[in-house]
Every structure is written in C-alpha cells, then in structure tokens.
Amino acid sequence: MGDAAIISTVFLETIGYWWVIIPTIFLGLIVGGIPGFSAANTIIILMPLTLAMDLQMGLVFMVSLYCAARMGAGIPAILVNIPGTAGAAATPLDGYPMTKQGRGQQALAISFVASSLGGLLTTIIAIAAMPLLARVGFYMHSVEMIVVMLFGISLIASIAAQDMLKGLIAGFFGLMLGAIGTDVVYATPRGTMGFLELYDGVPLIPALVGLFAVSEAFIIIEKRVILTKKGQEAMENPSWAATFEGVRDALTRWTHICWTSVIGLIIGVIPGAGASIASFVAYQQSRTFSKTPEKYGTGHIEGLVAPESANNGVTSGTLVPLLVLGIPGGATAAIMLVVMQYHGVSFGPSLFQQDPKVGYGMFIAMAVSYFLMILTIIPLSRYMSRVTTVPTIYLAPMIISFTLVGAFVPREYMFDMYLALAFGVVGYIARRTGYHVAAILIGVILGPLLETYFLRALKKSEGDIMVLFSSTLGNILWVALVVSLVLPIVFERRRKKKEIVIQ
C-alpha cells in the first residue's frame, strides 16, 4: 500500500473516532485552562484508561487531548490574565488588554482560529516534510539555541522601550531569579536560600500565575469589574457578530498565522525546545516586522495571533523527532512514547516501514482534531467571554484560589502556593511602580534555558568563548538577531523623519 493510500485509509478511520475526539477536545480545554494541569499529567492520570483502549483509539485520544490542552491554555490567559501553561505566557500580552477593552469575545475567536489554523497548517507541513524537518535537530545544537534564546530574551528590550531603565531592571531581575537552582553541570545549588523546593529552579507555574494572575487580582479588586468603561458598554449587548468579527480579524491575517506557526513548528522539532520559547520568539519576530510595533501590548491582534499560532505549531513539531528519530520533543511526547511502547510500537527510523499507520495516524489525528476544534470551540467564545462581566469582588478571590490550587498541582508542594503569593506581591509592586511583569517573566522562563545551552557550549569547547561563533548556521542566526534588533530602530527613525516631513 502506498503512502497516499495509507494516509487516506487512516484519515477515514480517524474520522470514525469523532465520538472520542469531541469529548476529548472539551476535556483538553478544561485541563489546559486550569493552571498546573496539562496534557502530560492528564495522560498520566488516565493512563490505565489509555492502555485499555486499542492502539488507534488511544493514539487519537492522546493527540486530541494534547492539541486541545494547548489551545485551552490561552482561554484564561486572555480572559483573566492567567496563562494555563508556560507556552501561553505570551498570550495575555495582547489578549488581556483586548478583554479589558470589552473585546474578549473577539480575542477568544482570534485565538481559536489562529490556534486551529496554525496547528492544522503545521500538521500538514509536518506530514509532507517530515524527513526534512527531522534534520533540523541535527543542525540546531547548543550554540544555535543560544541565539534562538536571545531572540526571545531580546523581547525584554522591546518591552523596555517605553521606559528603558525600568524595563531592563525588570528583565535582569527575572534573569537573576532564573539562575536560582542547581547548576546544570555539577548540580551545585545556587541561591536556593536553603529551600529544597528551589533546587530544580524557580518553578514556572507559580511564577507565571503569581506574576500575571495574582498581581492582577490585587489590581482588579480596586475596580468593580475588569472591563474599562468602554469595555462595559461593548459587553452590554453580546452578539454573535463579535465572534464573527474575531474570526474575520484572524482570517484576514492568514499570512501572519502561517509564518508564526512555522516558527513554532521549527522550534518544536528541536528536542528540548518548547512552546514557551516558540511563543516569545514568534511574538518578538511579529513585533519586529510590524509596521505598528508601538501597538503591541495594547490589545493588538497580531500580538495575539503570533504566540497562539506558534504554540500550536510546536504541538505538531514535537511529534516529528518522536516519530522519525525516536526522541520525544517534549514532556507530552515522552508520555505518549511510554503508552505507545506498551502497545508494542517502536519509534525511530524504522517506524514508517514497520508501522506506517501509527506514524501517519498521529498526524492525521492531529489534523482531524484541529478541524473539529474549529467547528466546536469557536461558538463557545460568546459564552466564555461573559466571565469578564463578573464583579471583581467575586472574580478576584476566585482567581486567587484557582491559581493557588494551580500552583500546587504540578509538584504538590505547599511551598509553591506561598511562592505564587510572593510572586503576586512582587508583580503588584512592579505594576504599581511601572515595571513590566512580562519582562520579569521572560527572564524567569528563558534565563535557565539560555544558561543551560550556554554552559553546555562552553563545556564542549572546554571554556573557549569563541565557540559561540564556531558554526555557520549559528553565525547566520547571529546576523539575523542583530538585524532584528536594529531594524525596529531604523523603521522608527524613518517613521519619525516622515512625520517631520509631513508636518
């Protein structure tokens, strides 16, 4: 049977599992939306069920859950400034301001369309170019990844543009927090202050929910609702029109969805890289090449489209090294590997000779899930957005209790709940004094990854710093980084010159 025949057979079989996919999509949205829960720990919890299913049903179940959880993480990020996972950390930068303006319904619709189309597109690309994509990991080693990290970290400078000193202080503060924990070479504890819970670094979920959500809860309690006055007027008469407006806004930016989701796909296929890196890099690139960079952070549509397309692009990307090389690209892919091995499937170069239906089946399941998500999730945006009209006297305590539970769940340490509260206080002070919490968070998320790749590169070169410029691809990326940092400055000067000429 040829590849095309296998794909069409598997496609028809997967469609037949619609009754598994649709409930799983809703389950995925719930677990993705609750901070601390994820597709990975849900698959672990439901492992006995997954193992009891036949191979194809188990595969369809896991893949649908994975895709839906990724999309679900964006919902609380947009509506109440709580990113469900680190992969959605860039989503509230523009999603939440849209909500405050009363455009929560549009923002959700944009996020759903960008996520689904980004996921669908990258899945198709992954099927078509799998052998080629699997090669990306062969070229992206520690040196190249240092530059990729710097793309994301350079976002601090963009955020700092309004107040450079405060922005950079916030960014460095985040990087310092990110350096807490044992070092990656000799496992020597640094800055842990005697807390065992910090040996593995500052845990991401408490930092994420503390800085974004808890501090937001402290702020919104000072108001009656989270919406601005204009936003309240806009939300008074909810209609389907707002959903259609969001869908249209996203569809008219289809090129943006395409290229930012491809960034996600490429970062996703690199073993060890993940959605948090991809969403920040996509956001930074989107801002760099935008004609209106000053609008980012104020509820700009492209600023929402970029991270949502990218983090769903990662979803298909992480499956490529798993299927072609036998290396799971992320935590969820690693759990899938365990389950599939129980079913007797061997991943690696021979998978497509021995079990082509499994290989293609995972991507087909992904494509079908994204397609069904478009149909089932978009209509919900109208109802989900109503949460923003809840008075803050109810909403703020709910956010705090919800996020504290979320902080506890991944590691089940009480310490993490206290840490989320501490980050909440830090975030509140930062907001009140004009420091950007996103700059702190970028440092906390990307700092440890940058350090890991940096120390690895230095260890490989036995301490020679010139290793940073030792690879051709790395040097090309360095040039691209410099260009992407300089371009906005050039564009800004041109724009100012034009304004002067017009005046």
Binding site: G181, V185, A331, S346, F347, P349, K459
Partner: protein, 332 residues
C-alpha cells in the same frame, strides 16, 4: 462444671482488660491489615523515562501481592537529589512511603556531594534490576567501532554526552580514557532522553548511558561498548564488554533500580516491612512479571532480585567508586 464466681474486683479487672483490648484492637488490626491504603512511591526522575517504565512494569504485579496500589510521584532535579531530599525530609517514615531510585548514579551522587540527610537513615531493600552502562553513537555517526572512537580520541578530545556527571557510565568512559590515552570530555545533557538525542543529532560525538534506555531507543542508535556483560547480544549490537575489548579489569558499571525505605519505618514497623519484603520476593516468583516487562518494552534479561544485603553491598561499592573518581566528576 466449675461455677464462674464474679465479684466486684473480678468485674472491674475484666472490664479494664476488655477496655484495653478494645482500645488496642484498631492498632492490632491496622498492623494486621497493612496496607490499608495506597503506597506513595517517590521517583527522583521525570515521568516517561526508564525509571517510570521500570516502576510501572514491576508495580503492576507487586500491587496484587501486596493488596494496594502504588502511587508514583516524580521529583526530578539536581541529578536526583531533589527526590531523595523530599523523601527524607517530608515523607512520613511509616512504610506507606517508599522511594524507587537508581542505586548507581544516585548513590554516586552522595560521594560527589553529600546530601543534607544522613545516608544511613534510608536503605534499599528490593533490587529490581542491574543494567550495565554502555557507549553508543547515533545511527548516522561516522564511527563504526569503539576502536575508531579510541583512535580519534587520541587525536582530539571527543565530546561525550551523559545524563549526569556522577553516573557509572561516565566513570566507565573515563576509565577507558585512562587506560587507552584517549581524551573524553563529558557533557551532562540532563536525563536519558536528552543523552540519546545528543548522540543522534550530533550535539556530541557519542554518549554513554544505562543500556536499558539505549535498547529502548531502538535503531536510532548503535551501541559500541558495554561497561559490563552484554546479556542481550543483538539488542546492544553485540557490543563487547570493556574488559574483553581493552584487556581491563573494571568492575561492572551498573545502574540498579531498587525500592528503598526509611530506616525508621523498618525499625518501628517490622511487620509492615516484612510484608513489603515478602510480597516483593513473591513478585519475582510470578511469571507475569516477565510478561509485564516484555509488554513495557523493558529488558527482562536485566531483572535481578536483590535484598537488603545485596543492595547494601552495591551502595558501598558505589560510594567507594565515587570517592575514587570524585575529582573528575566534580571538575575539582
């Protein structure tokens, strides 16, 4: 028939005895009914790895013998130290909390960096397997044999991926370097999956790891050398034992997964500990264990039961090995 005489003193004495019995009964029953709830198992590595697979395969049989479920909790970080510190610092020593660790790298860790607790306050009582480390390359590597690697290592320093610095396989390759004059630079890649990925994608020249994890990586990798006996032949590409290949006398560089328990739990609840040991041993007698390992894509050849004594000896050997190689593993 003697008539039972009941006076006030007898009545009071009997009442007291009956009350004492009533109060003590739940305790007695509790001991007899152990386990009356599920057991928590602390695993100091990430889910989805070799320990996860191994734990699930073993506990799926053991739970029926013990009559309780095993609930794993994964506490990775700091080369396994986080899991042990949490277990020793936070878990109640009541025989309802066990640790499932790898006696090779994790004990080696204690020699390199002492933990905050006394390492004599816990001990391993149930060894599940012994798994030799090995050196392997990615499927597309230009290296075809260990001799080529050694020859190249004499010309330039080769980068060697390892899951953590303090690992028996790391010691194996350093010993090979000492014996042959080849230069190897260990690069810690944080975990087994990343170590495989490092070799496959060419981030490092080759990697060293527990061979069970290398076998499960399938045809993405080719094994070049085993730091011990190759019990699985073709599954490790018929790679030679280091001692045979280079005329060395190195002890086997083994990983060995085992269940451990607080010393206080075993001392204070000898009945519970006895039940754990007896059911652990019964698990090994059950042919279903082999089937479970095969189903989980584990390596049944590595199953190797060991009790308190064997585990104690293994720990002692590892601590000695760690002391010997401490300068190389700590960069001191």
């Amino acid at each position: 028939m003697t008539k039972l005489k009941m006076n006030r003193r007898t009545l009071l004495g009997t009442g007291l005895a009956a009350s004492a019995m009533s109060l003590a009964t739940p305790g007695i029953l509790r001991a007899a009914a152990y386990p009356e709830r599920n057991l928590s198992v602390y695993i100091p590595t990430r889910e989805g790895g070799g320990a996860d697979r191994n734990f699930r395969a073993f506990s799926s049989i053991w739970k029926d013998k013990l009559g309780a479920e095993f609930e794993p909790g994964f506490y990775p970080g700091a080369s396994g130290r986080v899991g042990y510190e949490i277990y020793m610092g936070k878990a109640e020593p009541d025989a309802y909390n066990l640790i499932f660790g790898n006696m090779g790298p994790e004990v080696l860790n204690w020699a390199v960096q002492a933990p905050t607790f006394d390492i004599n306050d816990y001990f391993y009582f149930g060894r599940v397997d012994t798994d030799p480390g090995c050196a392997f390359v990615g499927a597309e590597s230009a290296f075809q044999s260990i001799d080529q690697i050694v020859e190249e290592g004499k010309k330039r320093t080769l980068t060697v991926g390892t899951s953590r610095m303090a690992h028996p396989a790391s010691i194996g390759i350093l010993a090979l370097g000492e014996a042959t004059g080849a230069k190897f630079n260990l690069i810690p890649l944080s975990g087994g999956k990343n170590t495989v990925a490092g070799a496959v994608t060419g981030e490092v020249d080759f990697s060293v790891l527990t061979s069970g994890s290398v076998i499960s990586a399938g045809d993405s990798v080719r094994t070049m050398l085993v730091f011990g006996e190759n019990k699985v032949g073709d599954a490790l590409d018929n790679a030679q034992n280091i001692n045979d290949a280079f005329d060395m006398d190195l002890p086997e560089m083994l990983s060995s997964r085992a269940f451990g328990i607080h010393k206080a739990a075993a001392d204070n609840h000898p009945d519970r500990f006895e039940k754990l040991v007896s059911t652990f041993n019964a698990t090994f007698e059950d042919p279903a264990l082999l089937e479970s390992y095969v189903a989980a894509r584990g390596t049944p050849e590595y199953l190797n039961r060991g009790g308190v004594e064997e585990c104690g000896q293994f720990v002692k050997d590892m601590l000695e090995l760690g002391e010997r190689y401490k300068p190389l593993l700590t960069g001191a």
